[in-house]
Every structure is written in C-alpha cells, then in structure tokens.
C-alpha cells in the first residue's frame, strides 16, 4: 500500500533532553495506525511533529526528515498553515472554540479561504456523526455540548478542511465508554477517506480499530507491524511484556 506520511531518522530534543531517537516510520494511506507505548515514550511528540506543533516550543530541536508524500514537512519554505490544512489534528481533551457550533466548523474554512456555507458545515457534522444531534442548535455555544459531542465536533472541525491525514492524540481518554465506542466507530468509518494516526493508551482500543500498530519505548520504535502481529505474535520481548501488562 502507498505510504502517505513518514519520518526518517527523526531526532527531537527539548533543551538537553532527547525525546525521540532516530525514528523511522511510515504510515500507509487509508489505514489506521496506532502508536502505543508507556507514558513518556514519545508517541505524542512523534504525532505532533507531523503538523509542526513543536514550532510553539522555542527549545525544540528537530533533525531528520518528515514527509507527507513528496512534501518536506520540516522545510522552512513550506507554510505551516498549509501543512496543518492537509494534516488535521484531534486532541486529548476536546477543545472547541468559545464560539457557536456552526462557527467552530466555519472558522477553519474561513481562515483558509475555503468555501464556507451551510452545506459544507452540515457535511462535516454528518461525517462526524454529530449532525442529527445538533442540527437545530447550530447557534448554540459549543461549550454546552457533552464531552463526547465536543470531541466529535472537534473531529468535524478537522474533517471540514478535507485534510489528507488526521492525527489523533488519545481522543477518547477523557470520555465515558459509550462515547468512546461512538468515536471508535467514527474513526473506522473515516479511514475510507483519510489516513489516520492515533496515539492511544488503551490497548483494547488499538486492537479494535487499528490496522497497523507501532510500539514505542523510551523514544525509540521497538516494533511495528499489523495489529494482529503486534498483539498476537510480538517479536520483541519488550513489546510482549508491554501488551501483556507487565509494565506501562
């Protein structure tokens, strides 16, 4: 299958501390890849490096190649807003804008100069399985939605820009089981159109939704493969220990 997003020999350090060591990893198009590993293993750092979220921290040093197909994501000449338009992101905690539901979707479209009308907004909300619940309250402040609804709104916000990749940083960690299942369902549905990389702490979740799984430990990729391989026939002893719950 075609590689959509990849990192090669990626090293990231914050100040003195090296967080990612020589990472090389590739994510295939229209697949869901789960990044798993114990806390502090660098999986979120890796995820955030693809849409240049580290630009915010002045002491971050990034070496290596990050690419979206042929596009060099680390190049100074590529506008960061362009990258973020093509690579959407959903965060751990739902973070809707302090605006109405409609404006939450419309905001990204407007600033990126994309056509913005009711149909586009409706389509994004439909894709995020949220339309039926909010179609009569589009003017309502988004903060009044429930946690699960807010997170689906954030997914709709990302989807509205028609990105190629969606990065998800533990999108269900703050949600109840029912909302979690709904979002997992949604993620599986979204992979038809998008390439999805998801960081998760929840190994059952990785098994339920991911096609591929990457196991990371202390800033290194220890093992990668199909989810079935990683969870049922791990080659690396560390992986085996982690998935069977010896540490993490």
């Amino acid at each position: 299958m075609k590689t959509k997003l990849s990192a090669e020999n990626l090293n990231i350090s914050f100040g003195e501390k090296q967080v990612l060591k020589n990472i090389s990893v590739a994510f295939a198009e229209h697949e869901i890849t789960a990044l798993i590993g114990p806390s502090g293993c660098g999986k979120s750092t890796l995820l955030r490096s693809f849409n240049r979220m580290h630009d915010l921290s002045p002491d971050a040093k990034i070496n290596g190649t990050l690419s979206l197909e042929d596009l060099d994501l680390n190049s100074k000449h590529v506008p960061v807003t362009e990258i973020r338009k093509r690579i959407g992101m959903v965060f751990q905690k739902a973070n809707p804008f302090p605006k109405s539901i409609y404006d939450n979707i419309a905001y990204g479209l407007k600033i990126n100069n994309l056509p913005c009308n009711k149909e586009v907004v409706q389509k994004a909300l439909e894709e995020a399985y949220l339309w039926d619940e909010v179609k009569n309250d589009l003017k309502m402040p988004a903060t009044r939605l429930s946690g699960g609804q807010q997170q689906r709104l954030c997914i709709a916000r990302a989807v509205a820009l028609r990105p190629e990749v969606i990065l998800m940083d533990e999108p269900c960690s703050a949600l109840d089981p029912v909302s979690t299942l709904k979002i997992e369902d949604l993620i599986k549905h979204l992979k038809k159109k998008y390439t999805i990389v998801i960081v998760t702490h929840n190994m059952q979740q990785a098994q339920r939704i991911a096609d591929k799984t990457v196991f990371m430990y202390l800033g290194e990729v220890k093992e990668e493969g199909t989810t079935d391989e990683i969870f049922n026939h791990p080659k690396n002893e560390m992986t085996a220990n982690y998935i069977s719950g010896y540490f993490g």
Partner: protein, 296 residues
C-alpha cells in the same frame, strides 16, 4: 485573505506586541531618567549631604533652606504610626478570615475588604478632616486635630486592605498537613495558629507588611489633607507634620518651572522613589521566599 497577507499581519502584530513590551521598559526608564536629570540639576546648587541631613525646609525664605530631614522624618513617623495600628489589625483580620470564618462569612468579609480598598484616598482624607480631626481635637484638647496621629490612622486604613489580602493569601497557603500534624499532637487551634501557621506564613506576612509600608510612604492625598503640613521635626503624635508626598503636592503647584525649588521637589521625589522601591523589593523578596517553600 491570501497566505502572504496573513503572514505579514502575523509578523506585523508580533512587532506591535513586542514594541509595547519595550515601551513599558521605556516608561520605567523615563521616570527614572526624569528623576535623576532633575535631581542633578538640583544638586548642582545644593550639596546632596546638606539636602539629606538639613534640619530646615524653607524653600521660600529669604535665604532658602533645602534640608529635607523634617520631611523624611515626618513620612517615617506617620508611616510608623500607621503600621503600629495596621499590622495587628491586618494580621488579626487575615488570620480570622483564613482560619476562623466560615465560607459564608468569608463571602461577606472579602468583598468588604475590597470595598475598603476601592475607596478613593481623597475621600478618606476628607473624612480625616470632618470626622477624625474634631474627634482628636476634642479628646486631646487641641485647637484642631490635623496632625501626625490623624495621618497615621488614615494611612493605616489605606494600608489595611493590602496587608490583609497578602497576609490572608500567605496564611491560606500554609499546607493543611502542617495544621493536621499540629492538631495531631493535641495542640489547640490558637497554639497551632501561633506556633505553626504564623511562623510558616511569616515570609508572606512580612511581605504583606512591607507592601503596606510601600503604600503608606507613597500615599499623597490623605496625608496632604489630614496632617496639618508643618515642615518641622515632629516630637509627638499630636504634632503637625509635612510628609514628602504632601510637600511635592503642595509646592509643585506654586513654584516657577526650572528653579532650584522646582528641582528640589524632584529630588524629594527621587528619595521617595527609592524608599518605596526598597519597601517593595523587600516585600517581593519575602513573597518569592514564601513561594519557594510553599509551591502550590
């Protein structure tokens, strides 16, 4: 909007924000430069030592005297008096609000303190004239009650909200574990307060007092209106005094620009600046020390 325009706006505003940051530096620098420049003009005429230690302030006399010692002593005297009143009241109130008052009472007391802080100093000075002055005159059998005592009471009222708020924060920030440990060995609430809470909160309380001192030294309107403004070295609380701030406020309106007297007022302001700066720096030092030990 095109991408390039958006980026240009982004860069432009970063510049604007940064400039305002530097302008704040320039503001403090400007104040400092103004004080120094005008003080130097003054010290070309008068020796700094004569100015600081001179016993007589008579800039409009036939042979003008620019000794600011009476003013420094007046300011110190009134501030000291204010602190004798405000420190026990402030710490007591802070301890009461933090340790004894229930949440309902707290919700009344805290806004009350904020209200007290909000009253303009000119109103408090006015009350010094219409309420305190006749009262003091009556009790002490004086022709009027515009004197150091009056000023000290008013300044205490002005400094109280600062002292209470900062001290209450400090007492409140003492970890519960300390109190529980003290109760655990059978100490009463009062013993805990005196032997555990107050010592633990001491740097914060000292900071509260120093910030109150800074506020009192720099306060103008209340002392201007209530202390009688006689530039003499006070011998007691019933003497009329003329503080540094009041001297500037009264005389700046009357002097011709760019005269020795005019520059002298800036020299007073410079001394005042450093006195308040010192009080605030000491206060800040203790606040930082307190934060270090009780990082929340």
């Amino acid at each position: 909007m095109r991408y390039k325009t958006r980026i240009s706006i982004d860069i432009l505003f970063k510049g604007v924000f940064k400039t305002t940051g530097f302008l704040v530096l320039a503001l403090l620098g400007g104040i400092f430069a103004m004080l120094v420049y005008n003080s130097i003009s003054f010290f070309l005429d008068i020796k700094p030592l004569d100015f600081i230690t001179g016993m007589e302030w008579a800039p409009t006399a036939k042979t003008p005297k620019y000794g600011m010692l009476p003013l420094i002593i007046s300011t110190t005297f009134v501030t000291f008096g204010a602190m004798i009143i405000a420190i026990p009241l402030g710490i007591g109130t802070a301890a009461f609000i933090s340790e004894y008052a229930g949440s309902r009472l707290k919700n009344i007391l805290k806004p009350a303190i904020e209200m007290l802080a909000a009253i303009p100093s000119v109103v408090i000075g006015f009350l010094g004239i219409v309420v305190l002055s006749p009262g003091i005159a009556n009790i002490a059998d004086l022709p009027n009650g515009l004197n150091a005592l009056n000023g000290a009471i008013l300044l205490a009222i002005m400094a109280l909200p600062t002292i209470i708020t900062v001290a209450e924060d400090a007492i409140h920030a003492v970890p519960n574990a300390y109190k529980e440990a003290s109760y655990g060995v059978g100490a009463t609430k009062w013993q805990t307060l005196r032997k555990v809470i107050i010592p633990a909160a001491a740097p914060g309380i000292i900071a509260a007092v120093m910030l109150g001192v800074g506020r009192a030294i720099g306060e103008t309107m209340t002392v201007l209106m209530a202390t009688g403004n006689a530039a003499l070295i006070p011998t007691g609380m019933f003497d009329s005094v003329k503080t540094m701030t009041a001297t500037i406020a009264i005389e700046m309106g009357e002097v011709p620009y760019q005269t020795t007297h005019y520059y002298a007022l800036y020299a007073i302001a410079t001394v005042l600046f450093f006195m308040t700066l010192f009080a605030n720096l000491v206060g800040e030092f203790f606040i930082n020390r307190f934060r270090k030990y009780h990082a929340v």
